[in-house]
Subunit: 393 residues, 2 copies
Amino acid sequence: MCGTDGCLIKSSSIPCATPENGPRDTSMTIVLDHGDPTMYESYWRKIENKCDITFNGYELLSYFANSKSLCWFLESKLEEEIKRLHNVVENAIVDDHYIIVGTGSSQLMQAALYALSPTDEPEPISVVSAAPFYSSYPEVTDFVRSGLHKWAGDARTFEKDGPYIEFITSPNNPDGVIREPVVNGDQGKLIYDLAYYWPQYTAITVPANHDVMLFTISKCTGHAGSRIGWALVKDKEVARKMTKFMEISTIGVSKEAQLRAARILEVISDSCLDPTLENFFEYTQSLMTDRWQRLRQVVMANDIFVLPKYPLQYCFFIKDFRESHPAFAWLICKGSEEEDCEKLLKGHKIQTRSGRKFGSDSRNVRISMLSRDEDFNIFLQRLMAIQRPTSDN
Amino acid sequence: MCGTDGCLIKSSSIPCATPENGPRDTSMTIVLDHGDPTMYESYWRKIENKCDITFNGYELLSYFANSKSLCWFLESKLEEEIKRLHNVVENAIVDDHYIIVGTGSSQLMQAALYALSPTDEPEPISVVSAAPFYSSYPEVTDFVRSGLHKWAGDARTFEKDGPYIEFITSPNNPDGVIREPVVNGDQGKLIYDLAYYWPQYTAITVPANHDVMLFTISKCTGHAGSRIGWALVKDKEVARKMTKFMEISTIGVSKEAQLRAARILEVISDSCLDPTLENFFEYTQSLMTDRWQRLRQVVMANDIFVLPKYPLQYCFFIKDFRESHPAFAWLICKGSEEEDCEKLLKGHKIQTRSGRKFGSDSRNVRISMLSRDEDFNIFLQRLMAIQRPTSDN
């Protein structure tokens, strides 16, 4: 997210080429630092009013959605559509899991840390993730200097005995790799961040079935502005503590956002089941495939950068073998360790996020693949124009 | 909020008489523990479709609302309607203040604590509020055991030198009293929680003009389910840090909720300015006046309880003298210090919140005055039936 790295604070000096700024000034820096998922807009425009939802003034007054449910602020309709979509896509087991809704999955990360941290220990529990890890994990863990949990860095170099929490992001943000736990200690508590485990990004090889799994509508459907995420949680006590976190933190989650999210998920499930409708995941997968092909061509042509390769895997959703097309390109500048890829691209008016922020090095950058078409096209043109410095220089 | 004190966790054993449970079973306990503001529903039903708002599928995809604004996730329309309403009601100065939107005002309390806490001190800053104080302040301050700030209890007994943060809730939750700062130290940072500074509850005597002021749509309009609050903040650096908190915590605030809130505030301002419309605040003030009169009659009749008295004050909004009609009744059981008023009322199937949770004693309880009519009527009937034990007992 751009904002979390202070991009927005700098926005008066570096104008962001974001759509709400009005007609595009193509001289502006293209912001691909954050993963703003605006590329699916064309799908939502095509289906016209099928997703419309109207709220009148007397609805949704109460804090409560369902006081009989463990997660008392979760709208039943959203719960139903979350379960339905996971069953349609077969990317996660929902039976025997509690559903906790959050204001985006960021809040649920904090709720999960709160729920999994021991309360009877003198020291905060260590929180780790294998590098390159999502750049927000350190900040989310430490921003209020919690005495419950503390960021302890790269899971691969973590050697402390005792309890710890490991974030497993699969497919991984930033590099799109499918991941397993790394520490494998006796007292590990695992949070699976599955924001990108959807068919437009990767093969659905197995329904995920873990103790704590996080999802977000932002990366699934593109509706980042709604701020809706959900956790699937096996253990009742963990689910209860996560709900408690949500109560104290925000007394629940916007009902308008929940009900609109429910409608959107419903339309997507329908599109997968009704052959007369345009399948959302086939449509968006085809957009991602096209973008990745064009990016790989440019990268191959200028011979300055490298992109990761992804294995072919059988996807049970599309019933065929396929490559991954991650939401981010994890671009590597060829050259020495001192190479600063973020700086190089910034010089060409492409704002990306340095590998350093992901516990990696400055040769890498993370680039959003989810921008609007116009931004993506300008990005490719600018990337194409970058030349290897000649030996004279 | 009921949930924050664990009521919901107990809801399987004590069924809550909340509307989503279906047809009322009048034998159930009436839950007046939390301030669920459902009583304004009749106003919103009367205005029919004037508040309707429709979202289609392709809107509100981006994380961003206005990347040029300091609070980059704040919808311009909401900003405009917040300013307009404060100008119409004249309850707060908005000029020279930044507006930060939050997922309810609870999140903004945490954002304000984050922004006002020093980062270069070895010890967390003390956070205080004069008893009886809002029962969530201790929990919100300490729930993740922050190293930035720590709850230090009743502001009246706070004697530590150095920096501190004081919450000033005015009108106060739970007791409806108009408040000023209590500690008055050199290094105090003040957060004004003005959730109840609206004409249905109290006289608008002066436009509030403080460094940090918190408001919420929940108590102003009754739309608690939307989870929209806002802060008016004078200092740019504080506003920036609060925005940063919101970025890390939830990457902004639901756009659906913001835009619906904007529509609701717009309708309220219109209702105040257009004499052909039913003025929202006159309507809701008349509901509150009626409830308080009826409650005072019952309390006077059974001679077991006492209610606070509020002075007549000139209200610049209604242009007349008036009493306060707070959102909560702060009921005192006559008798010794050992009197447990919460227990007494629970025995009569009225669930309230004990004074102990507000830093006060068990003779007091806080009772929501904002329930639906049916609940309020049952509450009065049950209260009326309570008899002083005879000396034989």
